[in-house]
């Protein structure tokens, strides 16, 4: 196969080192990339948390002068953008990276180098987006960047350019990651694992990846249009030349609403793994949960104008979008009932991961119900741009996505590291976060009902808003202290290591069948799957008859799966033939090239030209580099 292959000169030897900075830069291992995603996004989480606390200090009392309006605009813009694009999305990506190959019984993702590229591009994009803090020109137009307010006329300076260039670069990372996980899940499953034997987390990753691949290009279009308006003087959002400001809202929210489900579906997948494990029952209504996820992913495309009820689209459009928005609550409600049904009469074990998952259900229900309230246009015109909306989306994103992600962290930490997080500190961490978030966002419901607008840096003394705001600020610090306790927990547990076995929770899915932490090649032997929750039923064969009433399912599958495994072994020459992709520095080089393009859009065209050779070096070197060097 390698005869006559084209080669590209190497300027550096192919990275071999497992450790040190070069080991990380050259890595194509999905577990290490997952760790990189996790650490990076947690650092951004701390940045966004500090931004949120500064906001809460400012709003703690009326007519406060702690922060001026300019800085306040930058803070709420970067808090929102960071939490959405640099925290929740990449934290979910960390779980995708770590878990998907392990859950489907594969040795890596379909395109390990593309996976590394996703991470580096994400890292550089996040740095460019935050570069404004250093130049004193941070983005200040809100996370939704409404044009023409974000245009150069009303927003001169580099601030929103950092934002739009950063977003476009992050979009490349998201699309690449989404494509990778779609192909991985469709094409890399262990023998016997049909689509409806996949773990629910894998299913939700698949739906999320499809949404990423289809929604991020729309954001890219919005970004390119805003960028050409800002930098080259085009007229996409210039109303003086006939451009329509509502155009931005349509394009942004056509991306933005699927994005909401991109944020929440991974957390839904996580709790769908945690709840059955600690209830010691299979997930109640697996097919319903999976189809509800698919339906949410589909209907998520038909609700975007509920962000625009007060724009004046007319009664027909408002009615249609009100109905689709109320309808999408149905599959979400289906999931909630299935989770409760999973716990019903289960042998429930209340540890940190389970507590986070149960509070996810409760908090997400509250956030979902307030969401259904402003699905009604008349109600929404009262609530639009008030703290009621702030309360709503913080209940679904903090109470939903973040609690779900923390549940996943406590659940899979022993698998990732080989040691447990401390349970006592963990429960304190959970309690502080739950109390903190309720104290912070609960009062914002009635602040919003009372008419307190969003995105104002201060408010008058006689409005009666001081008590609730003070409570919210105290809640914010309690929540922040909960996060601090989480970090203390990591350090403490690391110092007093309690070693975790391969299967600490009596788990159900394939990742628990390999050691903790998993070997570089994940599985010594690729597992052969017969049942849904295969690992569980093989550990506890006495429970099979309880859940598989007519055995023909099982009998049908079992022989063919075994047979496939034999074929599989033939192909790879048994498990001695394990080969993993070699390390490569090209993803990093290509990422640097893309980052230089981005910097070029912020500075001048010559920088873009300087990026071209680096980009080509990455592209050509990559395309001519064999996945494995001939040995």
């Amino acid at each position: 196969m390698t005869t006559n292959a084209l080669t590209f000169p190497r300027f550096f030897p192919r990275p071999q080192s497992e450790t040190g900075i070069w080991g990380w830069i050259g890595t194509v291992d999905h577990k290490r990339i997952g760790t990189l995603y996790g650490i990076t996004s947690f650092l951004w989480f701390l940045v966004a948390g500090v931004e949120a606390l500064l906001i809460r200090v400012q709003l703690a009392s009326a007519e406060n002068t702690f922060i001026g309006p300019e800085f306040y605009n930058q803070l709420f813009t970067m808090h929102g953008t960071t939490m959405v694009f640099l925290v929740i999305m990449p934290l979910s990506a960390a779980f995708f990276n770590w878990l998907i190959p392990l859950q489907i019984g594969a040795r890596d993702v379909a395109f390990p180098r593309l996976n590394a590229l996703s991470y580096w591009v994400f890292l550089f994009g996040s740095l460019i987006m935050n570069a404004g803090w250093i130049t004193g020109d941070a983005p200040n137009g809100g996370w939704f960047g409404y044009a023409p307010n974000s245009g150069v006329t009303f927003n001169p300076g580099l601030g929103m350019t950092y934002w739009v260039v950063g977003l476009n670069i992050l979009g490349v990372a998201s699309i690449a990651a989404g494509l990778n996980f779609i192909i991985t899940i469709i094409n890399m499953r262990a023998p016997g694992m049909s689509m409806f034997k996949m773990p629910v987390f894998t299913w939700m990753t698949l739906v999320t990846s499809v949404l990423l691949v289809l929604a991020m290009p729309i954001l890219a279009v919005a970004g390119i249009q805003l960028q050409t308006d800002r930098v080259y003087g085009t007229h996409f959002f210039n109303s003086l030349a006939g451009g329509d400001p509502v155009m931005w809202q349509h394009i942004f929210w056509l991306f933005g609403h699927p994005e909401v489900y991109i944020l929440i579906l991974p957390a839904m997948g996580i709790v769908s793994e945690v709840l059955p494990t600690f209830s010691r029952k299979p997930l109640f209504g697996y097919a319903f949960v999976v189809f509800a996820g698919i339906v949410i992913g589909f209907m998520g495309w038909f609700v975007w104008s509920h962000h625009m009820f007060t724009v004046g689209l007319g009664p027909a459009a408002n009615t249609a979008f009100a109905m689709s928005t109320m309808l999408i609550a149905v599959p979400t409600g289906v999931k909630i009932f299935n989770w409760i049904g999973t716990m019903w009469r289960g042998n429930i074990q209340l540890n940190t991961a389970m507590l986070f998952s149960i509070s996810f259900i409760a908090m997400f229900t509250i956030g979902g119900l307030s969401g259904v309230m402003h699905a009604s246009p008349p109600t929404d015109s009262q609530q639009q741009d008030t703290y009621f909306i702030v309360a709503h989306f913080h209940y679904v994103l903090v109470g939903g996505a973040l609690l779900g992600i923390f549940s996943g962290i406590y659940f899979w930490w022993p698998k990732f590291t080989g040691w447990f997080l401390n349970e006592k500190l963990g429960i304190a961490n959970w309690a502080l976060m739950l109390i903190g978030m309720n104290l912070q966002f609960g009062p914002q419901h009635w602040l919003g009902m009372d008419g307190m607008p969003r995105r104002i840096y201060t408010y008058a003394e006689n409005m009666g808003w001081e008590g609730s705001n003070l409570a919210a600020s105290i809640g914010g610090f309690i929540l922040g202290f909960g996060i601090l306790l989480f970090m203390i927990n990591i350090v403490y547990s690391r110092m007093n290591k309690k070693i975790a076995p391969a299967d600490p929770w009596d788990g159900r899915t394939l990742e628990w069948s390999t050691s903790s932490p998993p070997p570089v090649h994940d599985f010594d032997e690729i597992p052969v799957v017969v049942y849904r929750d295969d690992f569980w039923f093989k550990k506890h064969p006495e429970t099979i008859s309880e859940y598989y009433h007519n055995d023909h399912d099982v009998e049908d599958i079992a022989p063919s799966a075994t047979q496939t495994a034999e074929e599989h072994e033939d192909d790879h020459g048994g498990h001695e033939g394990i080969h993993l992709p070699d390390k490569s520095y090209y993803p990093f080089i290509l990422g640097v090239g893309i980052a230089i393009f981005g910097i070029g859009f912020l500075t001048n065209t010559y920088v873009i030209a300087a990026g071209v050779p680096i980009f080509l070096w990455g592209m050509l070197g990559w395309s001519m580099e064999p996945v494995n060097d001939p040995t």
Binding site: N4, P217, D244
Partner: protein
């Protein structure tokens, strides 16, 4: 039931669940993503059609006969692409290389037409900064042109590979994947040609607002 069980053995390199090659599936999924990308730009063009406040207006600058020729050239490149894949799969190195080169040449001619068209429009006073038609026209056709340019570079690379013997019948998949991209870019042009040229060609300026003297 288990797709893996039915996988045939004619793909010696990779063993996948569906039997489809990973890279081929990746290209299909990417094209799905690109549909949304072009879709949003085309939708922007349609929403902004007829919203220009100053000229030049579409009927004053668009040249349907010339663009029909360039469209024909691009469509013929797809035919060349099919023939190239056929000969590479058959192992006929010289014919394969030749037809890949034809794709490169036709793609380059199409880009030449676009370059001349852009220059002509600038000469008539239409730039991306002139009006909303200029903005939407240049960005949409420009993005498409960028796609064609990437395709031409890719195909030139494959022509070199074919000539040097690195692209053969056993790895013709490399060309097939590039071909998927090329055909897609072609199909997008059919939509753009319809939406911008055929539908908007008669979008005349309001009375008294003519800006180009023919």
């Amino acid at each position: 039931m288990t797709q893996a069980a039915t996988t045939e053995h004619h793909t010696p390199v990779e063993h996948t669940t569906t039997g489809l090659n990973n890279r081929k599936l990746l290209m299909w999924a990417f094209l799905g993503s690109d549909v949304m990308f072009f879709g949003a730009f085309i939708a922007t063009y349609l929403v902004y059609r007829g919203k220009s406040l100053v000229g030049p207006y579409p009927s004053e600058v668009l040249n349907i006969p010339i663009t029909t020729v360039s469209t024909f050239v691009l469509l013929m490149s797809s035919l060349a692409m099919v023939l190239a894949l056929h000969y590479v799969k058959e192992g006929e190195k010289n014919k394969g290389t030749l037809w890949i080169l034809v794709v490169v040449v036709l793609g380059t001619i199409f880009m030449g037409f676009q370059f001349v068209e852009f220059r002509e429009f600038a000469h008539l006073g239409l730039t991306p900064r002139t009006n909303i038609f200029g903005t939407t026209f240049f960005i949409l056709t420009g993005i498409h042109g960028a796609h064609v340019t990437i395709g031409v570079i890719w195909m030139a690379f494959l022509a070199y590979s074919s000539n040097s013997g690195a692209l053969r019948s056993d790895n013709a998949l490399d060309l097939e994947i590039a071909g998927l991209y090329w055909h897609f870019v072609d199909i997008v042009w059919i939509v753009i040609f319809t939406v911008i040229y055929l539908i908007s060609a008669n979008d005349a300026p309001p009375p008294g607002m003519e800006s180009v003297i023919h």
